[in-house]
């Protein structure tokens, strides 16, 4: 069985829960995407841009020092998405979607962003391909991520601060959806993760799967076998889905998604949707959500702004339920420690998001069997986080 099914479901999760105005647009998008799937020239253009412009393939790096530091009995590889242009995996998807938008004659791109990484990647793709770009960003995030706001503006995008609700990522998505409902004719909504109504979760998965495809090829070259464990952080879940997906059909490869436990799962300040949430409907999809008894969506928290989202891609909900992947959570403090360890041991400053995956590996390393082969998706670089980590560490002293 191939997922999603014709109605956009992964098991019982997914679907298209959007206002009627958008339904015909989603049908149009689905049709355009299934035509693109058969169009070799489309994928050739995408691949060539990722190679010549963005720097793919990214290395699969054997982290010898970290392996040694964690006991020397396991072999750790890092998939270096941090080395991709704009500093994270996000560009794989935005180049794909903006190319598709262009192909179907849309002239205006809208996007949401939390920390600004997807906003920057969308603005970059739009600058490259010559489309107008509008990015919605929660007013609180605009304040917290001033540098990324400036980067987007430098790239020619218009950044609109969203004052409603919690003024963070979920509200930016709401506002982007409202824009799309209003500007149906010329506008294409570039969603940044494996979330939203069908066909977005599938489409974003397909674009991000290049991470896992390369990883598989590279690990087979280097180790002549598949990895035992693949770890990735999960907010909406696009970098995790991207590296997981090509391994799904190999049951010997254990897939582990690491969510943000923030101040702790026993508090109200975390983003561990799969670990601590319950199914519901938000942003066009049926999936695990952080919500209260009545069904109001709760604010999420994480020190990593890219994980700060109260929902998660529906295919992850499906993997959780089928048991194909395991989902766990680490706290802000654990992620911060991993952020420093990776910097010191390997000379790689990871994004705080990716530091969550490293943190979980640090936690379980001693229990892993001798000779275990582990791949961690290092989804982004940490330059964007250096200022806030500094503040955090100095504040703690």
């Amino acid at each position: 069985m191939m997922y999603p099914d014709k109605r956009g479901y992964f098991g019982v999760y997914g679907g298209r829960f959007v206002p009627e105005t958008l339904m015909p647009l989603l049908f149009e998008l689905e049709k355009a995407y299934s035509e693109a799937l058969k169009d070799r020239s489309f994928w050739k253009e995408w691949e060539s841009l990722l190679k010549e412009y963005a720097g793919r393939p990214t290395p699969l790096y054997y982290a010898k020092n970290l392996s040694h530091y964690l006991g020397g009995h396991i072999k750790i590889y890092l998939k270096r998405e941090d080395l991709l242009h704009t500093g994270a995996h996000k560009l794989n998807n935005t180049i794909g979607q903006v190319l598709l938008a262009k192909k179907i004659g849309k002239t205006r791109i809208i996007a949401e962003t939390g920390a600004g990484q997807h906003g920057v990647a969308t603005a970059t793709a739009c600058a490259l391909l010559g489309l107008k770009c509008v990015v919605y960003m929660g007013a609180k995030d605009v304040e917290r991520q001033a540098l990324n706001v400036f980067r987007m503006r430098l790239l020619g995008a218009e950044v609109i601060p969203v004052e409603s609700g919690t003024q963070t990522l979920k509200d930016a998505i709401n506002e982007a959806l409202r824009d799309w409902v209003t500007n149906v004719k010329d506008t294409f909504y570039v969603i940044g993760s494996v979330v939203g109504p069908h066909p977005y979760p599938r489409m974003v998965r397909d674009f991000q799967s290049i991470i896992g495809k390369e990883t598989k090829k590279q690990i087979l070259q280097k180790e002549k076998r598949l990895p035992d464990f693949v770890l990735a952080c999960v907010g909406g879940g696009s970098n995790a889905m991207g590296i997981f997906y090509p391994f799904v059909k190999y049951p010997q490869v254990k897939l582990i998604g690491v969510e943000a436990a923030g101040h702790g799962l026993n508090t109200d300040h975390h983003s561990a949707t799969l670990t601590a949430g319950e199914p519901g409907v938000l942003h066009g999809m049926l999936t695990y959500l952080l919500q209260d008894k009545v069904g109001q969506i709760k604010g999420a928290h994480s020190i990593a702004p890219g994980l700060d989202y109260p929902g998660v891609g529906p295919e992850h909900s499906f993997f959780k339920e089928s048991g194909r992947a395991q989902y766990v959570a680490v706290t802000d403090d654990e992620a911060l420690e991993a952020f420093q360890i990776l910097s010191e041991k390997e000379g790689i400053i990871p994004a705080l998001e990716s530091a969550h995956a490293i943190a979980y590996l640090i936690k379980i390393a001693k229990d892993l069997p001798k000779g275990a082969l582990v791949v961690v998706n290092l989804s982004g670089r940490g330059d964007k986080d250096v200022a806030s980590v500094r503040e955090y560490l100095e504040g703690k002293k």
């Binding site: 109605r7 298209r16 829960f17 409202r178 066009g284």
Partner: protein, 268 residues
């Protein structure tokens, strides 16, 4: 015999149409600013003789709503309302006004969370007549329609300018009570002007469907009512009322009634 649910809604809209009276469907958000104020507002609105009342249950992420209703939702959520309390409010109102149908406007997560079967069976007990769920398009409505099958509650779908006539026909067949036609591509909110081709679109749609056609989004002025009343069976007015509540707070009741009466007199 006393009617309820979809039948009550349809009968009442038709009786307004027959008598040449403008059938208005006012919307307010429950618990804005609190529960007792909402009950007061409903009584004043009832005095203006609406065809039906659309009472919103607030949801934290109202993607189909514009700034006016978003702000109302923020005010309402300060009371931490439960769906049980909402149904109590409806039942309290229906005790005094059994002939005025009330439909609930809320997003699907609220109902999903409460339980589809539980929502419908408790809606009956409280006297609620139907539901409008803006993020539940017909492709996703299967489970909801199955639970309501043969039970007579109003299931009102929204049709949009992007829908196309084939979809609209299908939606009209699935809708019970009325079909809600969204006047423009966009979100809720008062507009100075409505799209010029709207009356033509309404004319086409009305010739295709059997149930009453209600139109909403943007309607906020006497001239809108005048322009649209020949082409629709009922007119939905929301944000214009909600902004009165925003301005007047708990004492908005008389102003709500007065505003509705002004709209109803558009043709005289």
């Amino acid at each position: 015999m006393r009617f309820f649910g979809a039948k009550l809604i349809e009968k009442r809209i038709k009786s307004f149409n027959k008598r040449g009276k403008i059938a208005l469907i006012p919307y307010i958000t429950a618990f804005d600013p609190d529960k007792s104020a909402t009950f007061e507002f409903l009584k004043y609105i009832a005095e203006a003789e609406p065809a039906c009342i659309e009472l919103g249950f607030p949801f934290s992420d109202p993607v189909a709503d514009g700034p006016t209703i978003q702000k109302a939702v923020v005010r309402a959520l300060k009371n931490n309302p439960s769906f049980e309390e909402y149904l109590e409010l409806v039942s309290q109102f229906k005790k005094s006004f059994p002939d005025i149908p009330i439909v609930c406007m809320t997003y699907y997560n609220i109902i999903y969370r409460y339980g589809l079967e539980r929502t419908i069976s408790e809606a009956f007990t409280s006297g609620l007549d139907g539901f409008i769920i803006p993020d539940l398009p017909m492709e996703e409505a299967g489970p909801w329609l199955r639970v309501n099958k043969g039970r007579g509650l109003g299931t009102i779908f929204l049709a949009a300018p992007t829908s196309g006539l084939e979809r609209i026909k299908k939606m009209a067949r699935l809708s019970k009570g009325f079909l809600y036609y969204v006047s423009l591509t966009g979100i809720t909110g008062a507009r100075d002007k409505l799209p010029e081709d709207l009356t033509l679109r309404l004319k086409n749609i009305r010739s295709l469907i059997k149930i009453p056609l209600a139109v909403g989004f943007g309607i906020s002025r006497q001239e809108h009512v005048k322009m649209l009343s020949p082409y629709a069976d009922a007119l939905i007015v929301g944000s214009a009322l909600v902004s009165i509540i925003e301005k007047e707070g708990k004492k908005a009741g008389p102003a709500l009634k007065e505003f509705l009466l002004t709209l109803k007199n558009a043709n005289s």
